[in-house]
């Protein structure tokens, strides 16, 4: 398929792998920030192609995984109310709260619907004036503009029955937290391409400078990832720590200004708890005062709702790159996609789920077809 096959070409991939091998003189730990990158790496087995001295560490960039357990519990509490139609992206439905999840709420009669765009939820609100429609506004900077647009649209159309349960997080503060953590092992970063398509790259040079790490804005296809890794390794070997852009076919330094303006219009930056990691200052988005009427947390008075995280889940360490999923004692035993302890085992982009799905294979030699 056009615009896809050319980024998955095995011959070109082999050339990048050879180029990386030719560069490496010592071990390097490279973190891919985005869960979409993690998924691609494991799906295509990119880490297996790399020389053993290059270790990929899976970063915190999975919005589903870092949504705090209290927010899932709040979503569950709101979705269970008879007057509510609860709309969400599909992969939030299976994420375990402390006692339940949205699929379970649905099976008990809750009106929980999967939508593909936040504007679909606005439409549901318009079509159901007698019901309260809540959209689970989850994500990084990538989904923030569309979610802001939904709130702005609902405001413009005067929809009093639409609200959002906001769980928005920001990448740069999370990177600061990861890079500042004691015992940090990360030498270089692949920044999340789609986040930068929205936000641009201007937030990253101070981070690269302060922590002396090369940062390469990288896309998601196999050749993109290999090129991004090559660029990081080259900087590391040359002792540089700059911000470079592999994803130049989409990412501009300034990003997408209208999208940024929309986000600023609707949201404000605030402290945010990250599941498994804890609170990171100024690392999330909340609704501005002008849009407080659309805040589901206020409307449904769910303050104080939320139970504790499973004590056996080490997803916090996984999300910070301090533990490989397979190194967790619960991995594949007490924690599986059928019975997940934490969100990293559920989400399409969760590192644990990616490892579970693609990585429990035997090491027998391949047989030809």
């Amino acid at each position: 398929m056009r615009f896809l096959d050319e980024y998955r070409d095995p011959v070109a991939a082999g050339k990048w792998v050879a180029a990386i091998r030719a560069l490496v003189t010592r071990p390097w730990n490279i973190m891919e920030v985005c869960g979409g990158q993690t998924h691609s790496i494991v799906r295509f087995g990119i880490d297996e192609l790399l020389p053993p001295s290059i270790r990929l560490i899976h970063g915190p960039g999975c919005p589903v995984c870092v949504t705090p357990v209290e927010l899932i519990d709040k979503a569950v509490a709101i979705a269970a109310r008879p007057e509510v139609i609860f709309c969400s992206f599909g992969d939030m439905l299976r994420v375990p709260g402390s006692a339940s999840d949205l699929f379970r709420v649905k099976s008990l009669g809750g009106d929980v619907r999967i939508v593909y765009s936040p504007l679909d939820a606005v439409k549901v609100a318009e079509e159901n004036p007698g019901r309260k429609v809540v959209f689970f506004a989850v994500g990084f900077e990538t989904t923030a503009p569309a979610n802001a647009l939904a709130v702005a649209e609902a405001h413009r159309r005067g929809l009093g029955n639409f609200s959002v349960l906001v769980s928005h997080v920001l990448v740069p503060p999370a990177l600061e937290a990861v890079l500042s953590a004691p015992g940090r092992i990360v030498d270089g970063l692949l920044a999340a391409g789609h986040v930068c398509a929205v936000m641009g790259t201007e937030e990253y040079p101070p981070i690269a400078l302060r922590h002396r790490v090369p940062i390469v804005v990288t896309a998601f296809e196999p050749l993109d990832l290999l090129e991004g890794i090559h660029m990081v390794v080259k900087q590391l070997e040359e002792g540089r720590h700059e911000v470079e852009n592999q994803y130049h076919r989409l990412v501009r330094a300034g990003g997408n200004r209208p999208a940024q303006d929309l986000v600023k219009e609707v949201f404000r930056v605030k402290d945010r708890a990250w599941r498994g990691i804890g609170t990171i200052p100024m690392s999330g988005l909340g609704l501005r005062e002008d849009y407080a009427a659309f805040d589901a947390e206020g409307i449904f008075e769910v303050e104080g709702v939320g139970g504790p995280e499973s004590p056996d889940c080490r997803s916090g360490l996984v999300l910070q790159g301090l533990l490989k999923p397979t190194e967790c004692p619960a991995f594949g035993t007490t924690c599986t996609p059928d019975n997940p302890l934490g969100a990293t085992m559920v989400s399409n982009e969760g590192a644990c789920a990616a490892y579970y799905r693609y990585r429990r294979h035997s090491q027998e030699p391949a047989h030809g077809v």
Binding site: R43, P63, R357, S362, V369
Partner: protein, 346 residues
């Protein structure tokens, strides 16, 4: 006199009433005006509580399946033909020649009778295409809100020739894995309507009978070790089921699995893997290694098998693991999913 599908006896109501399932005159009217004319055959005409079937003089295959697809009409098919092909295909996968079907319908109060006529007409066309007769049936009506318009159960009987044994237990290391065509079309077609997602290239369901393909293999002298149609859970689910039940490993080459661009594009956009998306007209055949090329040629000669390809090989592995060789040449597990695939956030 030739029977005309589009010349229905008039009914007093335009929608299904509770009384249409009540055992009285209205139920009789519905059967005579809609069901019997559509399905007409001698066995059904006898109007017994049971259909009396001739002794086929062979072993019988017997299966049942229930159809609740939403939407009821989707690009490339509808619930009626799906209910016929699905059960016919289950019979065919046992190596059976499909012969007879039963039809049980659960109708929701208020369901338009006009649509019911379309569904039963579609079932008749599908049955004729498969050479099966619908010989017995049942209709129930549930209160408005307790159903989704129409649910259909079909059960099927087929005759199995000679001492043919087809099943996971027959699969051996060295067997070739053959796929009859491209995967994922049914799932994407249904999703495109259900979720209101319009694609540039509309994708039509692959909904089709598969008994002709099986017949092609058998008549051509290839006895498949195992056959399975890839439905819910897609190709990945089928391969895992057979690997687990047959206690063998399966190695599949990702690049060999055909996926049409419309399906590939939709899956990329929604974050789905086409190997897990439902098909309704695609079979996987496990044949002895030396039969592989002939099996592909035989399948390609039949309608619906034009795209047949070899996608993999059976290997020794008592744990029943399915391994995918990726486009980049790496190997990874191709696992069963915990549940349905969910579209991802970004």
């Amino acid at each position: 006199m030739a029977f005309e599908l589009n010349c229905p006896v008039p009914l007093r109501h335009e929608t299904i009433q509770m009384a249409h399932g009540g055992g009285g005159r209205m139920m009789r009217d519905l059967l005579e005006a809609v069901m019997l004319p559509a399905f007409r055959n001698d066995t059904l005409e006898s109007r017994h509580d049971s259909a009396l079937l001739p002794d086929p003089g062979s072993r019988l295959a017997f299966t049942t399946d229930t159809y609740v697809v939403r939407p009821r009409f989707f690009p490339g098919g509808d619930i009626g033909e799906l209910a016929v092909y699905g059960t016919v295909n289950d019979l065919a996968m046992a190596g059976a020649t499909p012969r007879f079907l039963s039809v049980g319908m659960i109708l929701e109060e208020g369901y338009p009778i006009e649509e019911l006529r379309r569904v039963v007409a579609s079932m008749r066309r599908a049955a004729d295409r498969c050479g099966v007769a619908i010989v017995t049936g049942d209709t129930k009506v549930v209160d408005k809100g307790k159903g989704d318009g129409i649910y259909i159960n079909t059960a099927g009987i087929g005759s199995v020739p000679g001492d043919l044994v087809v099943g996971p237990g027959q699969v051996r290391p060295g067997d070739a894995v053959i796929l009859s065509g491209d995967v994922g079309r049914h799932g994407v077609a249904v999703m495109s309507v259900r979720e209101g997602i319009a694609f540039q290239t509309p994708v039509e369901s692959d909904c089709a009978p598969l008994h002709g393909l099986v017949r092609g293999l058998l008549d051509g002298g290839v006895t498949p070790h195992c056959l399975r149609d890839a439905t819910r859970g897609g190709l990945a689910a089928v391969l895992n089921e057979i690997a687990t039940d047959g206690k063998v490993g399966v190695e599949v080459v990702e690049a060999a699995v055909p996926v049409v661009p419309g399906v590939e594009g939709a899956c990329e956009m929604l974050g789905l893997d086409p190997l897990y998306v439902a098909c309704e007209g695609c079979l996987v055949a496990f044949v002895a290694g030396p039969d592989a090329d002939r099996a592909v040629i035989l399948l390609r000669a039949r309608e619906g098998g034009e795209g047949a390809v070899r996608i993999g090989t059976v290997v020794e592995d008592g744990r029943g693991t399915v391994i995918l060789r990726t486009r980049l040449g790496t190997r990874r597990i191709l696992d069963l999913l915990s549940g349905e695939q969910l579209p991802r956030i970004c």
